[in-house]
Amino acid sequence: MSEESFTDPGWLSEEVKTGTTIIAVTFDGGVVLGSDSRVSAGESVVNRVMNKLSPLHDKIYCALSGSAADAQTIAEIVNYQLDVHSIEVEDDPLVCSAATLVKNISYKYKEELSAHLIVAGWDRKKGGQVYATLNGLLSRQPFAIGGSGSFYIHGFVDAEYRKNMTKRECQEFVVNALTLAMGRDGSSGGVAYVVTIDQDGAEEKCVLGNELPKFFDQ
C-alpha cells in the first residue's frame, strides 16, 4: 500500500486521465457523438467541463478517452495529417481515411500510448460512419462506446439500439446512455456534449447537468 502524502494533493503526482464515457451512433444520414466532461487525476477532478469531442475535419469528429495528453496529441496530429491529405486529393477526406490515420498512430505506438479514440463523421461516399480504433484495431460499427463509464451501459445500448433511427431518436439515445453511465461511473460526470454530423455540417450542443433525463432513483 503506497504511502499517502497528506500535504500534496493527488493531482500533482497522478497522471491526468479522461476516465470517461464516450459514444458514437450512426443514423440514417449521419452520426451523433456524445461524451461526458470530467477529467480526473487520481481522485481529484481537474477539469469538469472538458469537451472530449475533437474536430478532425469539417464533418469528421473524434471522441477522446484514456490518457488526456495522449488522446489530445493523437487528435492534433491526425487533424494536421488530414488537412494535408485533403489538399492533396482536392476534396473532403473520407471518414475511413481519418480513422486509418488514427489507427496507424495507435498501432505503431501502442506500447507508449494509452488512449482510445472513436472516429465518426459523414462523407459523400458512405454517409454516416463510426469507427472504433481501440489499441490499433480498426473496426467499422453501427455504434461504439468507450471509456471507463461504458461498461455500465453495455447492456443498455445492446437492448436499446435499433437500426435506422431518426436524428432525434439518436440524440435522445446518446443523451440517455451518457446519463446512465455518468450516474454509475465515478470517473464520468459533469455535462453532456453532443455533436450531430450530417451532410450539412456539424452541430455542437451542450446538455447541462440539470437538463439531463432522470431515471429511477431510490
Binding site: L134, N135, Y152, G155, F156, V157, D158, A159, A181, Q218
Partner: protein
C-alpha cells in the same frame, strides 16, 4: 477493453456470475445465470444452481467464492430453521438476511462472498436485502450483483419501474440477465428465475436458445 477484468483474488471455484432480484406487485423475482468458473478460462459447471432455498418463501443467491457461499448458506439454513421453531411461525426475510450478515461480518477476513436475500413474509410482504462482502445489510427495491452486473447497471437504471406486474418483472429480469451473459465471459448458460409470492414459489428456467435476442444477434 482488455485492461478491465473483475480483479478476482478468489481461489478455486468462483461464481463469476450475474445475479439479480426485483420486487414487483405482489412478490419478488430472484434470478441468476448458471455458469461456475475456475480462473477466467475454465467453466467448471454449465448448470449450477445459484438460487438456494433457505426457507419456504426465502431464497438466497450467491456471488463470489462458491465454497464460502455454500458454507454460509448451510449455516444460515440451519440457524433459520431453529429460529423459526422457537418463534413458532415462518421467519421474516429480514431475519434470514440478518443471519447472513452476522456470519459475513464476523468472518469478514476469511470470507469472500456476497449475497442477495429475497422472499415474502406476512409482516412486510415482498422484500429484497443485499449483504455485501464486508457484511453491510441494505434493503432495496431491486438489486444486481456479480461480475456480469457492471454491464447492466445502465439497463436496469433505465428500465426498472416500481410496482411492475409479474409479466413485466419476468421480462425485465430475463432481459437483464441475457444482456449481462452476452457481455460477461464468466456468466452464461441458462437463466434461472424463482418467483416468490404469498401463494408459493415457482421456478422458471430459460434455456440458451429461448433467451431474448438483441440487435447484433
Amino acid at each position: 477493453m482488455e485492461t478491465h477484468h473483475s480483479h478476482s483474488q478468489v481461489k478455486g471455484v468462483s461464481t463469476g456470475t450475474t445475479i439479480l432480484a426485483v420486487k414487483f406487485n405482489g412478490g419478488v423475482i430472484i434470478g441468476s445465470d448458471s455458469r461456475a468458473s475456475m480462473g477466467e478460462s475454465y467453466v467448471s459447471s454449465k448448470t449450477i444452481n445459484k438460487l438456494i432455498q433457505v426457507h419456504d418463501r426465502i431464497f438466497c443467491c450467491i456471488a463470489g467464492s462458491l465454497a464460502d457461499a455454500q458454507a454460509v448458506t448451510k449455516m444460515a439454513k440451519f440457524q433459520l430453521s431453529f429460529h423459526s421453531i422457537q418463534m413458532e411461525s415462518p421467519p421474516l426475510v429480514k431475519a434470514a438476511a440478518s443471519i447472513m450478515k452476522e456470519l459475513c461480518y464476523s468472518n469478514k477476513e476469511d470470507l469472500q462472498a456476497g449475497f442477495i436475500t429475497a422472499g415474502w413474509d406476512r409482516k412486510k410482504g415482498p422484500q429484497i436485502y443485499v449483504v455485501s462482502l464486508g457484511g453491510m445489510l441494505l434493503s432495496q427495491p431491486f438489486t444486481i450483483g456479480g461480475s456480469g452486473s457492471t454491464y447492466i447497471y445502465g439497463y436496469v437504471d433505465a428500465k426498472f419501474k416500481p410496482n411492475m406486474s409479474l409479466e413485466e418483472a419476468t421480462q425485465f429480469s430475463t432481459n437483464a440477465l441475457a444482456l449481462a451473459m452476452g457481455r460477461d465471459n464468466v456468466s452464461g448458460g441458462v437463466v434461472h428465475l424463482v418467483v416468490i409470492t404469498e401463494a408459493g414459489v415457482k421456478h422458471i428456467v430459460v434455456p440458451g436458445d429461448k433467451l431474448p435476442k438483441f440487435h447484433d444477434e
